[in-house]
């Protein structure tokens, strides 16, 4: 099994991110300009980080799920539900922290539901999470009763738009989460367990890994990540929009993980690379906006860049490169 060594900084993903950023700079010379105003940083680069944070957070949980050979299609709907619950709670007079707790509990419950379907009932992840993807948005609309619930709770608004040490709060949360989850999976055996279950679940179970508990945990983490992203998005617009919050973001999150080199067939993953994948996606979006191209080209450009990245990562490209004498590293980390 070929593995890309993660120790190197100059891998496909960072090169792609840097090239997209440079392209943005060529199209829009002020791209790298960062200003300090009212105790926080402003600029296109900060904007990329800030807007990319929700997808990056989703991608953190999604990467762990994909590494177990699963996929979580429900994260967008879970975002809508958690945002709806947080907004409804503060509107009903509960304090901000209670609302955040409630939203996280919803994320955990959704993650556990997915986990039970996948781990206990042995239902394929794509279809198990499809249930919540379809029903979840309906439930979110049920909670908000079809309207956009607006609020002015300072805690939620701070999570969505506040700043810490000059950085926007979503970026701080995403970064902290990335460091935390990366440490947990790489400094303990959990990462190895996840890869083992992803490569061959029955073999991993026979080797003594409690794969059911592991799957439950992984889907719960994904649910909680989705809830955090949902709170950020709701706090950002100061309202819960059950129809549009997190719409299609599950696809962006999966894409971020795949661009980051995580194999959809399980067993190979890197959380920081997925976060970089999310930033690549956002850098493309922002680049198209700031460079003045019509936004309708956004999806076409996105499809083009995905195709290029996938072609570079595909085994065929590896063979072609190998043909020219540059053998792809087959060594493990």
């Amino acid at each position: 099994m070929t593995r890309i060594s993660f120790g190197r900084i100059f891998n496909t993903q960072t090169i792609a991110l840097v090239s997209v950023l440079l392209l943005n700079w060529i199209l829009f010379p002020g791209f790298f300009k960062i200003e300090w105003q009212d105790g926080r940083l402003f600029g296109s680069l900060i904007d990329v980080l800030n807007r990319g944070a929700p997808v990056a957070i989703l991608a953190i949980g999604m990467t762990a799920v994909i590494a177990t050979k699963g996929v979580d299609l429900s994260v967008g709907a879970v975002m809508a539900m958690s945002g709806a619950v947080a907004a409804t709670l503060v509107v009903a007079g509960y304090s901000g922290p209670v609302a955040v707790g409630g939203a996280l509990a919803v994320g955990l419950a959704c993650g556990l539901w997915n986990g039970v379907l996948v781990a206990m009932l042995d239902i394929q992840p794509i279809i198990a999470t499809l249930v919540l993807m379809v029903a979840g948005r309906g439930i979110a609309q049920l909670i908000t009763e079809g309207s956009i619930v607006t609020f002015s709770d300072p805690t939620l608004i701070f999570i969505g738009t506040g700043s810490f040490l000059g950085m926007p709060m979503p970026v701080v949360i995403a970064f902290a989460l990335m460091v935390l989850v990366t440490l947990v999976v790489r400094k303990t055996a959990i990462g190895l367990f996840i890869e083992a279950v992803g490569v061959n679940r029955s073999a991993a179970t026979l080797a003594g890994i409690r794969s059911r508990l592991l799957l439950l945990t992984v889907y719960s983490v994904s649910g909680i990540c989705a809830a955090i992203a949902g709170i950020i998005v709701a706090g950002d617009i100061r309202g819960a929009d059950a129809n549009n919050a997190g719409l299609w973001l599950e696809l962006d999150a999966i894409l971020a993980a795949v661009i980051g080199g995580t194999s959809l067939l399980g067993g190979r993953f890197s959380i920081p690379m997925s976060v970089i994948g999310a930033l690549i996606i956002q850098a493309m979006n922002t680049g198209i906006l700031v460079s003045g191209y019509p936004p309708e080209f956004n999806l076409v450009v996105k499809a083009g860049i995905i195709t290029v990245i996938l072609m570079i990562q595909s085994p065929l490209a590896g063979q072609v490169l190998g043909f020219f004498g540059r053998k792809k590293s087959g060594a493990s980390r």
């Binding site: 239902i123 499809l130 379809v134 309906g138 956004n298 499809a303 195709t307 065929l316």
Partner: protein
Amino acid sequence: MNRSMRPLLATVAIFLVAYAAAVFQFPGLLSTRVLGNFLTDNAFLGITAVGMTFVIISGGIDLSVGAVIGFTGVLVAVLISSFGLHPLVAFAIALAVAALFGAAMGLAIHYLEVPAFIVTLAGMFLARGGASVITQDSVPINHEFYSTISSLYFRLPGGGRLSFVGLLMIAVFVFGAVVAHRTRFGSYVYALGGNTTSASLMGVPVARTTVQIYMLSSMLACLAGIVFSLYTSAGYPLAAVGVELDAIGAVVIGGTLLTGGYGFVFGTFVGVMLLGLVQTYIIFDGTLSSWWTKIVIGILLFLFIVLQRLVFAASARGDRSSETA
């Protein structure tokens, strides 16, 4: 009784029970008028779902179909309204574009060894983006051919109308069932879904079949787009967003396994009808809000996948006991 038919029979039984329960509450549901509208309103979904059935039986997935419907609508509308082409010429061009599009996805899936999920996701972005690049607005189609086709229908006893698009959907289902169960291509599709490696060792042309499957899916999605444009008399780049999920839902409810290798085109038909029944019921009820559609479809999906697991677990045991008997 053939054991492999059990999930299909379960789907049919659940549809009949659900329909009977709905008719019990609203006797008006049992009329050719409602049944005719069932077919007309779900024609584009049904045609898309036939293509999706092939893709899923082969063990793949096609997320691009909703976007292809939107793209087709816009392309056809622009070709007719701005370039003054005859609708039939526009249809031919759209089908050719869709065939190329599907072939490109199939080639990428086979030769780049990228999962179908990701390739068709990129295809979805490309088709949706392409539609928005052509136009941002809804383009009306005013052509006498369109009004003729849209108003074609057979009058059913009881005042119902069996429209041209409804008939077209039934024709596509019959075509799909014949191709899936009676042709070599159909057996190849099942073989691929069962196990790609053993299929290839048995001499199934994997590359050609994969390309053909995605061409078929894209062309049927294109046909669905044409039907959708007949239905709305316009092309809109954001039309049919999320139809891929409805189509996948209909296929799964119809008893096809998402792991591939098992499924029936007729099951998909029942799945589409069941989704249509949920929507019609909610419209008939009048007090239920639209979001209940999503929740009920989610619950249905859940019930069916659990049911499938139970049936397959039971039939696995049954196989063993029948051997000993």
